[in-house]
Structures are given as structure tokens and as C-alpha cells.
């Protein structure tokens, strides 16, 4: 096993006086798919927001790619963010511009590549997610699954080392959700990315997870291999997989 690419230690956090995450510790090694799971309202999305630096915890430490996320200056953290891709729950594509222009945003903002090269890269990423023909369409003209895939193309535009995905399968039919999971697996294998996926879809978890972190009432109840989680005797974990 290599050095962990993400390391979280004793993370305590919440909103105002309410503690949402209570003493969470885990690590993610390069090339694995770590799934954060749990019932609704257990703090999954909050944890993800900490990992991508959108929220500040009360205490604890988060190390991302060898940098202490909580001690970085603004400029350093922006630099670090270029190695991270985020797939938001609803895609978060900009609605007023086409799919191709959406995918081009990070390339235009963070690189000095020529227009031709950017165009080639945009089509390459759209081809990887199987959306090349949708390039000139507006996000409002896409179906839910296509929108997620377009958002994924944008998230991987800069070849991130880590991809965070928030509920990639939410709101999709089982077939589309499965194909999106296959896509995530393919990207992991092809690009050697590390994935942190937040989800509560059991089918999706069984398909993609290497290791799982089970959150329950703000605590990390279980952290380990998926196969161990399925055999776990902990009451909430058992109920989650066998409702």
C-alpha cells in the first residue's frame, strides 16, 4: 500500500452549536474507491464539503495530497483545488452555455493552452463519458443521466488526482445509475484517479466500493473493506444493507 492520498484525523464539525461530525478519522489510498455511506442526514455531504474545503471544521486535521488543508493560504488552496475534481449532486452545469463550453471552463481558466488544443481536450473528455454528440447542446436540453455525465466530463477536464462525487446515482433510474457507476470504474482504471463517492444507493455501493466509511449519527461507525461491511454485525450497518 502506498502513502494515503487523503488523511482525516479526529475531525469534529457542525453548524453553529450542533455537532454533525463527531471525531471522524479515515484515510484513502491512491487508486481506490472510497464510499462514504449512511442514512439521510448523517453528515455525508458535510464531510464531503470539508474535504473539498468549502467548510471549516471545529477541530481535527485534513491532509490532501500531502498538504494540510486547514493551514493552506487562499492561493495555495486554489492551486491544490486544480488537482481535485468534484461532481456535484445536480451536476451544477452553468445553464446559459453549451456542454462543450462548460467542460472548457477549467481549461480556459487554469491553463494557457491554445484554443485548438482546448477544443480537442473537450471532445476527448466528452468522448470518455460518451457524450461527444451532445457538445453543442445546452444543459437544459439534456436528460438527468446525460447531465451527470457532462458534469463528470467537466470534473475530469484537468485530469484531477482525486474525484469527489456527491450522490452520483441519485435521481437516476437503475440502468442509467449502473452505467454511470461503470463509467466511474472505467475512469478510475484508465486514469488512475482516486474516488471518494458519497451515496446511499446500496446497489451502487456494491458495484464500485473498495472500502466504505459508514457514518451513523455523526460518528464513523464502520471503516473498512466492503466485504467486511456486508458481514458486519453492527445493527445500523446490517439494517442498511439488508433493509
Amino acid at each position: 500500500m502506498n502513502e494515503p492520498i487523503i488523511e482525516v484525523q479526529h475531525l469534529i464539525s457542525g453548524y453553529d452549536e450542533r455537532v454533525v461530525l463527531d471525531d471522524i478519522s479515515f484515510d484513502v489510498v491512491p487508486g481506490e474507491i472510497m464510499v462514504v455511506l449512511g442514512t439521510s442526514g448523517c453528515g455525508k455531504t458535510t464531510l464531503l464539503k470539508h474535504l473539498i474545503g468549502l467548510l471549516q471544521p471545529f477541530s481535527g486535521s485534513i491532509t490532501l495530497l500531502g498538504h494540510d488543508l486547514l493551514r493552506l493560504s487562499e492561493a495555495e488552496s486554489i492551486k491544490l483545488m486544480r488537482h481535485i475534481g468534484v461532481l456535484f449532486q445536480n451536476g451544477a452545469l452553468l445553464n446559459s452555455i453549451t456542454v462543450a463550453e462548460n467542460v472548457a471552463i477549467p481549461l480556459e481558466q487554469h491553463t494557457n493552452l491554445t484554443t485548438g488544443l482546448i477544443r480537442d481536450l473537450v471532445y476527448l473528455k466528452l468522448e470518455l463519458v460518451g457524450l461527444k454528440s451532445a457538445a453543442p447542446l445546452l444543459p437544459s436540453e439534456l436528460s438527468g443521466g446525460m447531465r451527470k455525465r457532462a458534469a463528470l466530463a467537466r470534473a475530469i477536464a484537468l485530469d484531477p488526482k482525486i474525484l469527489f462525487a456527491d450522490e452520483p446515482a441519485a435521481g437516476l433510474d437503475p440502468v442509467t445509475a449502473a452505467s454511470l457507476d461503470q463509467l466511474l470504474l472505467k475512469l478510475r482504471d484508465l486514469l488512475g484517479m482516486t474516488l471518494v463517492v458519497v451515496t446511499h444507493e446500496v446497489g451502487s455501493i456494491k458495484r464500485i466500493a473498495d472500502r466504505v466509511l459508514f457514518l451513523h449519527e455523526g460518528k464513523a461507525l464502520f471503516f473498512g473493506k466492503l466485504s467486511d461491511a456486508l458481514k458486519s454485525h453492527l445493527e445500523p450497518v446490517r439494517n442498511f444493507f439488508n433493509p
Binding site: 446559459s96 491553463t111 476527448l124 485530469d159
Partner: protein, 363 residues
Amino acid sequence: MDTPIVKLPPVITHQQTEALRKKFKALFDKKQFSPSVEFDFQEVERMDSAGAIFIQNLRSDLEKNNVEVIWTNLSPGIKRTLKLFKRPVPPVFKSEKKNFFEKIGETGYNLSKYFAESILLFSNIGYWSFLGFFRPGLRRKGEVVNQGVLIGVNALPIVALIAFLIGFILALQSAAQLRQFGANIYVADLIAIAMVSEMGPLITAILVAGRSGSAITAEIATMKVSEEIDALTVMGVDPVPYLIVPKLYAIIITLPLLTVFANIIGITGGAVIGVTYLDINFVAFFKEVFTVLRYKEIFTGLIKSFSFSIIILLTATYFGFRVKGGAEGVGRVTTASVVASIFFVIVADSILGLIFYFGESAF
């Protein structure tokens, strides 16, 4: 001539490609006629998608110029990267360009479609506005009063302020001219006629079009986008009598009232100039106002503002129902609605002004 060997750097990512491009450009200008070039991948450790495409673009560019390209010492990892990030063939999208006649035809078709849509909606509103008057159960409860407050009462401060300033400045501008003839007292005539038959109805209508017309469009468009209109329809509630008709009643009642209010404030604004700048007695000013105002001016002003209220509501609802797409569609129709309703208000004002002027003998 020997094959020149180009050593590639250890890291080729999107951060390095631009520098490499410049470096290679200089290189190939000199060796333009070399029949082949060798790229040495010995030191390359890391390459991302941007780097891979750059290297492949370089190769195809050179091959186009009849230069043979040789890649040597590729590690398995780099080979995989190059294979994975193949240059995509840009898809060909059939061009959407229309010729001149197609454009004319499309415009004509759209205009006739919009016209038919609007006539359908307006007749629907007209039908329900008569029928709904006798069947208050079809409206949302208390909605006429509610809308009356939103459209009329809440607009009072801004209408008062604007009307006062318009009357004030109109008097000031004309005072300078009238003074030359010693016709100071006629400022009262001018302000009275101008406010009551023209400025009062017009500025009130423009203000209400901007304030409430946009609000009505945005409300209906949002309801349509979030399928609330569909929900009402499947519940067996016709959205026109339920949503639109109360607004129509509210605006028909409040806009003429607002206009009367604006007229009074506007004339007061003129009186301020008359008293302070032209030394007209306050009582004499209003005496002059009441002698010059005939019923005709008052009625034409009210008829105008009644027509404007209907125009504003119909334009606002029409654009609200025409919304397409999501949240950005709501913004688009709202802008279009305000522009259109102000335009139609001014057009209607001109037409009514002509009718009242030349049809004077009929009154």
C-alpha cells in the same frame, strides 16, 4: 542529413505544453526540411491528457509537412496514456444555417403563431373576466384585495414621488418660456392639462408595467416552469379564472385610482413652482386649474389608464405563459414582458391621443 533527436522533458502536463509548443516552434523553423524527426521519450515520467494530445497533434502537424516522426523509448505507462487519450475526431454537426427565404418564412410563421396564441389567451381571459365576475368561487379567496394591495397600494410612494417630480420639472421648464410673455398664470393650465390627460396616465402605467407587470410575468413563468400550472389544471382548476382574473380586476381598479392620485400630486408639484418661482397665489393657481379642466380631459385620462391596465396585464400574462426552459427562461420572458408592455402602453397612448384629439366634436 542526420535525424535530429528531440529529448522530451520528464513531465508533460497542461502546465508545460505551452512552453513546449514555443520551444518546438523555434526548433522546426530551422529544421524545416529535415525528412524525419525523432522524439525521445526516455525521460518522460508523467503525461496528462493535455500533454498526450499535444504530442499527437505535433506528430500529425509534422506528418502533414512530409516529415517522418519517430517515437523512441516509450515506457508502457506512456504508451497506455497515448493510447487512452487519442486525438478525438471533432464531430460534425450539421450546420443550422438557414437561407434568406427560410428565415422570412420562419419569422412569418412564428409571428402568426404568437398572434394566434395571444388571441386565444386574451379571449380566454376576456371570457373568464365576464363570467368570473358573477362566480367569485372560481377565484382564489381574497386574491383581488391581495393583488390590489400589491399592485396599487404598495406603488403609492413611488408613484407620488415620480408624479411630483414630473409636475415640478414640467412647470419649471414651461415657466421660463411663459414668463417672457408675462403669462405666468398659464403654467397652471399647462400643468393641469398635461398631467391629467397625458403625463399622469402614462407615467403611472409605465411605473406599474415595470413594477407589477414584471412581477406578474415572473410569477406565472415560475409557476409554469415548476409545473404548478399543470398541477392546477389536473386538479380541475382553470388557471385563468383562478390566477389571472383576480389580477385583472385588481389592476383595472387600482391603475385609474393611482392615476388620479398621480394627477393630484403632479399638479401640486407644479403649484410649488408656481408659488415659489412665479409668484402665483396658491388659491389662484388651483382656481385656474379647476376652470381649465373639463370633464373631457379627466375622462380621456381615465379611459387611457383603464386601457393601459388591460394592456399591461395581457402582455404580462402572455409572456408569462410563453416561458421555455428553466430559471433563465423566467428572466428572459420577464425582460421581454416589461419592454413589450411599455412599448404597447406608449403606442396605445399615441393612438388614443389621436382619437381624442380629432374626435373632439363627438364629445
